[in-house]
């Protein structure tokens, strides 16, 4: 039980950090753009923040599953799902949605590099944890850690 808590807590913390980054730590731009119709539309960074919020929540939930699941297979499955999620966190501000073009906008200066770093770190941590859990499973066949 203690080992699974140890494995899950970093992901809970990381998920919460990813969700909070575009709203608290490196907030995205607050402005709007005016469409041809005259409507005020939020900028791309607004949607990137929403996507990061969702991904962060999913990562945190996966962390809870990892911490509480009794089956090592379930834990390994949850960790493997975090690999593409980490890539997604990094992809939203870069290729999937994007942020403002101007280099000095808060979203490009702070939010984009922060999400890229956190997403890459989440993916790398998921890979290391997956390898560790796989070794645990292989070494302790039939034994519940």
């Amino acid at each position: 039980m203690k080992r699974s808590l140890f494995a899950g807590l970093p992901f809970i913390a990381l998920g919460l950090l990813i969700a909070a980054t575009p709203y608290c730590l490196f907030p995205v731009c607050a402005g709007h753009v005016t469409a041809a119709s005259g409507a005020f539309l939020p900028m791309k960074c607004f949607w990137t923040a929403r996507a990061a919020l969702g991904c962060g929540g999913v990562i945190a939930c996966a962390g809870i599953i990892i911490a509480l699941a009794s089956s090592p297979g379930v834990r390994l499955g949850a960790v493997l799902a975090l690999l593409p999620l980490g890539a997604l966190v990094a992809a939203f501000p870069t290729v999937l949605i994007g942020v403002c073009q101007n280099e000095m906008m808060p979203c490009r200066m702070g939010t984009l590099p922060a999400l890229c770093l956190l997403g890459t770190f989440a993916g790398a941590l998921a890979l290391i944890t997956a390898l560790w859990l796989h070794r645990q499973l292989r070494n302790n066949k039939g034994e519940t850690p």
Binding site: N102, E103, M109, G110
Partner: protein, 383 residues
């Protein structure tokens, strides 16, 4: 913990070196690029022009264009030119204000020399040049005050406020401003001609050592007529250099303290670890390892530990410095330009060397003392 201490030292040392080098680059380029010795501005706006030049903080202020004509031919003045600063509220993609700087192509000696490296022809009426941090390249369009302009050139990075500015002909900038929504809120001083107002007049003194005397002479003659104030460029550069020196003292002091801490902790831990492993070293000596070989093994182990810490520290520093370069530049509020590849590699190499040598330096005495002991003493239970 050993790796973490060395990593922290490497992180602080590398980050401080790169940041110091960045500000040093920005200060040097500022001293080269500005070209002028004295900047005359309306009274009360000396901070605004410094903010605009150093940090790209958009601002608008106005001065009578007739003032420059008064300076031409005045003793102690080699060259003069005027610029118009306008803060635009609109730019494509986002509402961040952009600083528009109108320059006089006939008299400018500040922007044109470095614009000529990327654009050798005069700009057309619908053309602009942009700083390195403005989105868009040559041939692309930029909208300002509802008018579309073609980007004729993108200037090299300077680390100053020019990087987030847009440059155009001063007459064009004036017409753009007067035709815009801002015109009614401009609060142009009474009597100021709407066809020739400027924001600042830049002066190159005939003798750089006498720039302050020239500035005082101009103020004595014209301060009341034109409501003037001035900024000495040399004082601005000196102020930033002073702050850079303070920062360097702080960071080098901190790095020294961290290094001493790292050496102290490593020396203590290695001393205890070597004591615990006496039997192991005794067996090695009994099997034929020489004293030199024993010292070599211990030093290699400590080198591995401190090298791992050095690499970790450099990776962490790189993970913060490179992606957040623009953020750090904005927060520094000083001219700064990231060092080139060669300088970065030199800083990395120097940091790695210093951090990696921490371990061997820390345990050399313990290793030599251990190697000098008699072999039989290692294997005795009560050693």
């Amino acid at each position: 913990m050993l790796v973490a201490i060395v990593a922290l030292f490497a992180l602080i040392l590398f980050s401080g070196a790169v940041t110091g080098e960045s500000v040093g680059n920005g200060t040097r380029i500022m001293a080269d690029r500005l070209g002028a010795d004295i900047l005359f501005v309306p009274h009360g706006y000396e901070k605004s022009i410094q903010g605009s030049l150093l940090r790209g903080e958009p601002s608008s202020f106005y001065l009578d264009g007739a003032f420059e004509k008064q300076l031409r031919g005045m003793e102690g003045i080699e060259k003069t030119t005027s610029q118009l600063f306008v803060a635009s509220l609109q730019a494509p993609c986002c509402t961040l204000p952009v600083q528009i700087i109108g320059i006089d192509p006939k008299t400018d000696f500040v922007v044109r020399p470095w614009m000529n490296t990327v654009l050798t022809r005069p700009m057309a009426d619908s053309e602009i040049a942009v700083g390195s941090r403005i989105a868009g390249g040559p041939g692309e369009k930029l909208s300002l005050f509802g008018r579309e302009f073609t980007i004729a050139a993108r200037l090299d990075a300077t680390g100053m406020g020019f990087d987030t500015s847009v440059f155009m002909d001063i007459d064009r900038a004036r017409r753009l401003l007067l035709a815009s929504d801002l015109a009614s809120r401009m609060n142009l001083p009474e009597g100021l001609a709407r066809t020739s107002f400027v924001s600042s007049t830049l002066v190159k003194a005939a003798a750089p050592g006498k720039a302050r005397e020239t500035a005082n002479a101009v103020l004595q003659r014209h301060a009341l007529d034109y409501n003037l104030d001035f900024v000495m460029v040399a004082a601005m550069v000196s102020d930033i250099s002073g702050r850079l020196a303070d920062f360097s003292h702080l960071f080098y002091g901190l790095s020294c303290l961290l290094w001493l801490l790292a050496v102290g902790v490593l020396a203590l831990v290695f001393s205890m670890a070597l004591n615990e492993r006496k039997k192991e070293f005794g067996v090695m000596r009994a099997l034929g390892a020489s004293r030199v070989q024993l010292v070599g093994i211990i030093l290699r182990e400590s080198l591995l530990v401190s090298s791992a810490g050095a690499v970790l520290g450099l990776v962490l520093a790189g993970a913060v410095l490179f992606p957040f370069e623009a953020y750090i530049h904005a927060r520094l509020r000083m001219p700064s330009l990231f060092p080139g590849i060669a300088a970065l590699i030199a800083a990395m190499g120097g940091t790695f060397l210093l951090a990696a040598l921490t371990g061997p330096l820390a345990c050399i005495f313990s290793a030599i003392r251990l190697a000098r002991s008699e072999t039989c003493l290692f294997l005795r239970e009560d050693c």
